[in-house]
Symmetry: C2
Subunit: 301 residues, 2 copies
């Protein structure tokens, strides 16, 4: 699992700070999460083969999370894309995009599917053989979802020593990997756990931005391998959180701790602070495995 | 008159080439012409005090000319702008912007006025004491206007020698500068041209992008001081012009010559050519005073 941070600052793009956008690589698929203005240039800058993106997830309709979407959609057409593109985001996103394509007389060279979200509850919005994506309802000034990406567990791992001991033939190995029990010729049944080990743990990634502090998300992101949680402010500015519906670094760390995640990545920084290390310094007192998102940085887990 | 080129390439923004946007400074006013994705970052990069912009002119609704507009409008709000902002552009632009502001629950902190254009004919769309802006109907794949910015002539200049000779008192000087004749005490009338000179010539700027070759624009831009004319292609690719409704550098030069402008600036280059000097080389054979737009370049006239 790789996470490419294309932009991780709040509010507005600047020369040295980009608004929210990231690429999650999972199982050789590339998922684009949020798409602030300038995302397509960031994708080029960091040499990401962005034509491979087939699924785009938009958390909410504030400009710093989606103003780059229509440009990316148009550029795909200019590149003569033929593969389907799926957009997941709040209701209204389809109207915004289609209105602009219509008025510019620029329909796409490929099929564009919108999956508009309206539910206040967590729901599975994407699933294929290997990955499930579930919404994480967030508390922000407009309807907002985070997204939990979970890789499905692989097959069970053969316990070759046990198979040999019980004289299991090779033709049964796939059945064992799939979790099946084995009936011996004498009628005795060997339960699967005698013949196999649990599969390798699978990575999961929870993206939570933008949101005020909310413990309601804890059950959904429980035990996630990586949590990206917004930290727009430092604790000394916590008074700004209620009105703007954002979080502090300390609050992000509390959520990471409560949810028992393995790693926490902070981002969506306000540019009022000169040094983003202040965010990590604050969070690490509560949650040790805290990392800082930075524009252009790639995390490998 | 200053012209800041923020972006001058066609199609899609890249790491080293920005789409169309420029700032015209005329009489201490800043006019923004077109606003491709990333324009607000270009304004910051080139240290332009963009909060001074009060009038934005959008030629047409192709993404490379306006996808940065909604972001700029939002950023003005984040900067707590209070001054009115006027947007001039094709019908539909208001719906696109207001829909996005509505769905993001982000109304502006200032008054936003839309002046939607529908006329196929040239018309004056802006006028104040010092400047007039007239549309230049262009021929492109969607409804498109260029814009002619004309500074109004200043007052006439006193011919002090003549005034002394005829014994004109100082209290009449303003009347003479305003073009009035003077009646002497003996009843004799001195016509204004005896007492004053023509005012300094005033600059004018004609922005023409995007368009296929069209001599219809020549009467409108006749004798303009500076013409910016798109040159998406070189003459060797003229076959691409008909379908895409763009021009070659040679065609831009022909228009400059026919319109008898003083200076020609080329831009809206396709990125297929490695070296933009090829555009100048082609145009200069027909029109000598040809210059190349470059992202970040400032022309002073």
């Amino acid at each position: 699992m790789k996470l490419h941070i294309l932009g991780c600052y709040s509010a507005t793009p600047r020369t040295i700070s980009q608004t929210t956008s990231q690429i999650l690589e999972m199982n050789n698929e590339m998922y684009l999460i949020d798409c602030g203005e300038g995302t397509q240039v960031q994708l080029r800058r960091h040499k990401i083969k962005f034509t491979k993106i087939s699924h785009i997830f938009i958390s909410h309709l504030h400009g710093d999370h989606f103003y780059g979407l229509v440009g990316l959609i148009s550029t795909f057409s200019l590149l003569n894309r033929v593969n389907d593109l799926h957009i997941y985001g709040p209701k209204g996103i389809k109207e915004i995009i289609l209105l602009q394509l219509k008025l510019s007389n620029s329909y796409t060279s490929y099929k564009l599917f919108f999956h508009e979200l309206i539910s206040p509850d967590s729901e599975i919005i994407f699933e294929d053989k290997k990955v499930t994506v579930t919404t994480i309802p967030l508390k922000h000034r407009v309807y907002t979802n985070g997204f939990l990406f979970e890789q499905k567990p692989g097959k069970r791992k053969l316990n070759l020593t046990a198979c040999e001991k019980y004289g299991i033939e090779v033709c049964y190995f796939n059945k064992i990997k799939d979790g099946g029990d084995i009936k011996l010729e004498n009628g005795h049944i060997l339960s699967n756990d005698l013949l196999s080990y649990d599969p390798d743990p699978t990575p999961s990634y929870a993206f939570c931005s933008d949101t005020k502090y909310s413990e309601d998300i804890v059950p959904i992101i429980k035990n996630a391998y990586v949590l990206y949680h917004e930290s727009t402010f430092l604790e000394k500015d916590i008074d700004k959180c209620e009105h703007t519906m954002h979080s502090t670094a300390k609050q992000a760390a509390k959520i990471a701790q409560l949810a028992n995640v393995k790693h926490l990545i902070l981002g969506h920084y306000s540019t009022r602070y000169g040094d983003i290390n202040l965010f990590r310094d604050e969070a690490i007192e509560i949650f040790e495995n805290t990392y800082l998102a930075e524009d252009g940085k790639t995390f490998k887990f």
